[in-house]
Structures are given as C-alpha cells and as structure tokens.
Symmetry: C2
C-alpha cells in the first residue's frame, strides 16, 4: 500500500505524472482513504513498472493503453484475441530491435573506422560509415536474424 508520493519516489517519477496517468486511464489507484488520498497496491505498482518499461522502450501512452486493455477486460476476450494483439505488439518490438541493431552497426562501423588517437578526425565520417553499411542494412530489417545479436565491439 503506497500513498502517491511513496509510489512516485519508488519509481522515480513525479506525483503529477501518476495523476496524469490516472486521468488518461493508464493507472488508477485501487482505492482511496476517507480523506480522498490515493492508495496504490503492489499490483498497481507492478502495472506502473510495466508502463514505465514500455515507455522506456519507445511505446507511446496510447499504445501502452492498448496493451493494458487486455488486462482490464480479459474475461471478455477470447484467448485468440489476446494472443493476436500481443503478437502484433511483439512484431513491433522485434522490428524495433532490428532497427536498433542496424543503427548500432552504423555506429559500430564509425567507431571501428576511427583510430581513436590524438590526431585530427578528418577521416572519421558518420556518413562514410553509413554508406559502407548500407548493403548490410536490408537483411537486418527483413526477417528474424538469429545471428545478429550484438557484434563484437572491440577496436
């Protein structure tokens, strides 16, 4: 059981943000005290952590609402519906991971091309690194890649 300030501190956000999430239907406290103070349960906190993680990973609050709506009325959904919605989000996540991997390899190329010494960076070019990586990009975007996790990053 947390008061709003306690939960906020626990999750390193502002109380204002919690009230904002409530107003927008993402997270309502399970109850109120007689005086009207919001009371959040451990379950509410878990939900909040889910929201924050989804946010950190680039989902908008609207998308998160959509994800959480599964939770709210799950007894009214068929299992197949839930699976469908989750799997479509899962696809988005997988696609985003692929994009990130492509981007990471862009940066990696630049880092690799750079000697790292004290001399001028005349020959270090983000765009050069980009160009040389362009052929590499497509296979990353399309299809699941079991071998592109994280490429060795040394030197």
């Amino acid at each position: 059981m947390y008061k709003i300030g306690e939960l906020a501190q626990l999750c390193e956000i502002k109380t204002d943000t919690l009230r904002f999430y409530e107003k927008h239907g993402l997270l309502a406290p399970s109850s109120r005290t007689d005086a009207g103070y919001r009371i959040y349960t451990e379950n509410d906190a878990a939900r909040l952590r889910f929201i924050l993680r989804a946010k950190a990973v680039g989902f908008t609050l609207n998308e998160i609402t959509e994800l959480l709506s599964i939770e709210l009325d799950k007894s009214n959904w068929a299992c197949a519906d839930v699976k469908g919605l989750v799997d479509s989000k899962l696809e988005q996540v997988v696609a985003r991971i692929a994009e990130l991997n492509a981007f990471r390899s862009s940066l990696q190329n630049l880092s690799n091309a750079c000697c790292g010494g004290p001399e001028s960076a005349e020959h270090c070019s983000i765009l050069d690194a980009l160009e040389t990586e362009q052929g590499l990009e497509k296979p990353l975007i399309k299809g699941v890649n079991h071998h592109n996790a994280i490429v060795k990053a040394e030197r």
Copy 2:
C-alpha cells in the same frame, strides 16, 4: 539533386519537416536555385536517412544533432574525441536493445502462456507474465548478450 518535394516524397516525410530540420540545424540543403528553391544532393539525402533512422530508433533531434556535429567539424576534433562520443552513443543503443529484449520477452511470455483458442482469456495476464519474467530481467540489462538476439517467436 532533389527539390524539397522530391526528397520529401522519397523519404516519406513532409516538406514542412525538411524546413523544420533546416531551421533546427539538422539538415540544410547544399544549395539554392536562383529563385531560392532548396536543392538537396545525394549526400544530403544520406544525411536525412541517417536522421530518420536515428529517430525511428528513439533518439531525440537534439541527440541526433550531437551525433551529426561530429560530421560538421570533424577536422577540429581529435580522433579520440569522436570515438568517445560515438562509443557513448553506442552504449546507449546497446542498453536500449537490452531493454527492448527484456520487454520482448515479457510479451513473449504472455503469448506463450496464452492458448490462443476461442475460450475466455481469464488466465492470460500481462501482469502475470511480467511477474514471472522479473527474475529474468536483470541479466539482460547488464552486459553484452551474444545469445539474446531474437528468440524464436513462432506459435
């Protein structure tokens, strides 16, 4: 050589967005016609694609500006500086990939737990899936994971 509308169409953004990027120092056309029309080169287009990819992957325009600033005055930077900046961005990207992988596995758990049939989704819970995945989360965050690329997602 592209006029603003051509480049916009090529990259599926609005001309307004290109002018906006120019105003904010992310991408200026290499030249103008006598009439004042913006003229973008292939190099400008590559820079734009870099911007769009970075954006898709969750970087803010300010962060992207910082990344691109390397390009602008690279001759005034030491190679070590460039490498430092790039490597720190690289760390951010790797961290984000880790977060996304954790999130993906959350969703995967839910999908797996869900029978996918026509019956009520009473027992499919995003939060349940979250709980059971909580122990799994930390090893993903810390350290490079060569084997967490993308887990089989079928069924």
